[in-house]
Amino acid sequence: MPVVEKQRSDVILQYLRPKKKFPSVWCPGCGNGIVMGALIRAIDKLGYKRDEVCCVSGIGCTSRMPVYLDFNSLHTAHGRALAFATGVKFAQPNMKVIVITGDGDALAIGGNHFIHACRRNIDITTILINNFIYGMTGGQGSPTTPAGAFSTTTPYGNVEKQFDPCGLAQAAGASFVGRSTVFHTPQMEKMIMAALEHKGFSLVEVIANCHTYYGRLNKQGDPVAMVNSFKENAVMLGKAQTMTPDQLKGKYVIGTLHENKEATEFCDEYQKVVDVRMAGGKAR
């Protein structure tokens, strides 16, 4: 094993829960593990204290991630991670709060919480692993299942249209929005670092493979074939800006898509109110 690889896995092992029963619930080759590795390396490089990191999640394959990580962890109910995380962050504004979610969790049952967390621009980093399908319940269609794609609840092809999580987040007020894929791990790692360091609501959407359900039902092959397809279909933002909508069909635009460093952050704004009231300020 090359030395570099050994060092990397050592870092990962340091951040896994020593008392948790492994293996994980994820299928061999699942993209979730790649994202977990990138998240660990990002946090390690930023040097955050583990006690000051809180990972919050909902329900689904992706949402199991916080349970494996040696931080404060809150594994909640389906769709509600951002609402719980809002409580944690607002109660402890110095906590680095990270929400780990999937496309069904964040955009279907949790869609309302998603847009409102963006609107408040509360300082939470959300990593949305988008695999276009419900994995844990066995391959049903999700809000990001492409039109025409097959799932166990779209057996004749999906008649619905898909959400663009990044466009949705930006329109709703998120101040940092980026997209990567599980092929582009160095980029993903840097993007997660930038999102964590960003003050305000940050979204990192990671396109990932669910070969077990999405890949199999749509004849996209094994994990390697699927990850390779992300490589082939990803387009950097700069290049995408020179392409026509037709040329961009079926492509994933990757990179930091939106960043606003001027936007005020929810907890900061509330603290200003507290400071005035505690000093005996008069109501209007």
Partner: protein, 378 residues
């Protein structure tokens, strides 16, 4: 001599005052009649003491934020009415299984569905016990006056902290919107209970450890105890389990930590029961009408008394059984189609006549209506 804190307060605002006295530092809520003054009052008062108020996007988000804040160490509350409580029940179940202290105020209005938004009701009494799915043991308290609302809200926080569990305060529209002159307790006058914190070093911390009284010391996020909180049925380390030898103890703990200590939870008020042949059993705003009816009946020489339930859940079985031993009949007034009366039928002997006086048109039960019922019974 210091001036007592006499104040003319609305029930909903008294509830906020009680919560602040108990140490509430976080409120998340969503506007809904007839509870909205609780959110408004909290939004005014909390910033003044460094607390936090947030209006969430719905009731589900409100209870989620409350639980997140409680795990982060703040005493937390939300308030709503029937439709909002219905939305919250899934996550109230999350608070049960994760043993997270929090207070949920339900200012009851008529239902089902949107029902009677501005009208009084007691039709969520059973929902407070059985609202969320699965097996669990609930605590719910029911004030009947504005003054009660202060003490019962304080008690709700104390019970939540003592037993690491969500506690429901069952208000109703009449109490929530009544204004009465009350005296707020002085600091230190009422004992305030805070959750037990772990004393072991982090490496020895077992977040859901079995203890003699069933309540595990609770660490807040950020205190150095990095542990897992999950709505999945979990082992003592907080990790999900499918093992019978871990599932049984966990669910037994949820029940036993409360049911083995009902003496600390049960609170009833007993009036004129020493020689009573007939007992009014009531809670919430109906308890006031029952007291008035009994007082008037006594003046006419009728031996009637009142048992008022401050603790609705766990149901005070043995207290009611003992108090009604010499009674010839009981009258249960409720603003619903008969909810608590089913509990009373469950615990009292079959021979004892149980009469009901039920109103579910959104209006109050008056003392005169209860007196008419009493005349029928006599």
């Amino acid at each position: 001599m210091p001036t007592p804190k006499r104040k003319l307060l609305q029930g909903n605002i008294a509830c906020v005052q009680g919560a602040l006295y108990a140490g509430m530092r976080f409120f998340a809520g969503y506007p809904i009649t007839p509870s909205t003054e609780l959110a408004e009052g909290s939004s005014r008062e909390l910033p003044k003491i460094g607390g936090r108020f947030i209006q969430m996007e719905d009731e589900i988000a409100s209870i989620a934020a409350v639980i997140g804040a409680s795990v982060s160490g703040l005493k937390s509350m939300t308030a709503t009415s029937g439709p909002g409580y219905s939305l919250m029940v899934e996550l109230i179940g999350y608070a049960y299984i994760t043993e997270t202290p929090c207070v949920i105020v339900n200012v009851q209005r008529g239902g089902p569905s949107t029902g009677l938004p501005t009208k009084v009701s007691q039709s969520d009494t059973m929902q407070a016990r059985w609202g969320t799915h699965g097996d669990y043991t609930a605590i719910a308290v029911a004030p009947s006056t504005v003054a009660d609302t202060v003490t019962e809200t304080i008690r709700a926080f104390n019970l939540a902290e003592r037993f690491r569990t969500p506690v429901t305060v069952l208000l109703d529209e009449v109490i929530g919107h009544s204004r009465e002159l009350i005296t707020l307790p002085e600091p230190g006058e009422v004992k305030i209970y805070n959750r037990v914190k772990p004393t072991v070093p982090p490496e020895q911390f077992v977040p859901f450890v079995m203890t003699p009284n069933g309540v595990s010391p609770m660490a807040s996020y950020g205190e150095g105890y990095r542990y897992n909180v999950t709505g999945l049925t979990h082992d003592t380390m907080g990790f999900s389990t499918n093992r019978a030898d871990e599932i049984f103890p966990k669910l037994d703990k949820l029940r036993n930590k409360i049911m083995n200590y009902t003496d600390e939870i049960t609170k009833i008020r007993v009036e004129m029961m020493d020689d009573a042949e007939i007992a009014f059993i009531a809670y919430g705003s109906v308890a006031r009408a029952s007291l008035q009816a009994a007082t008037l009946a006594r003046q006419a020489g009728v031996k009637v008394g009142v048992i008022q339930l401050y603790t609705i859940w766990p149901f005070p079985d043995k207290e009611i059984q003992q108090l009604t031993e010499r009674c010839k009949a009981v009258i249960v007034g409720e603003l619903n189609m008969g909810q608590i009366v089913t509990e009373i039928r469950r615990i009292l002997p079959r021979e004892l006549p149980i009469h009901t006086m039920q109103r579910y048109d959104g209006d109050i039960l008056t003392p005169m209506q209860l007196l008419e019922k009493l005349q029928e019974v006599l």
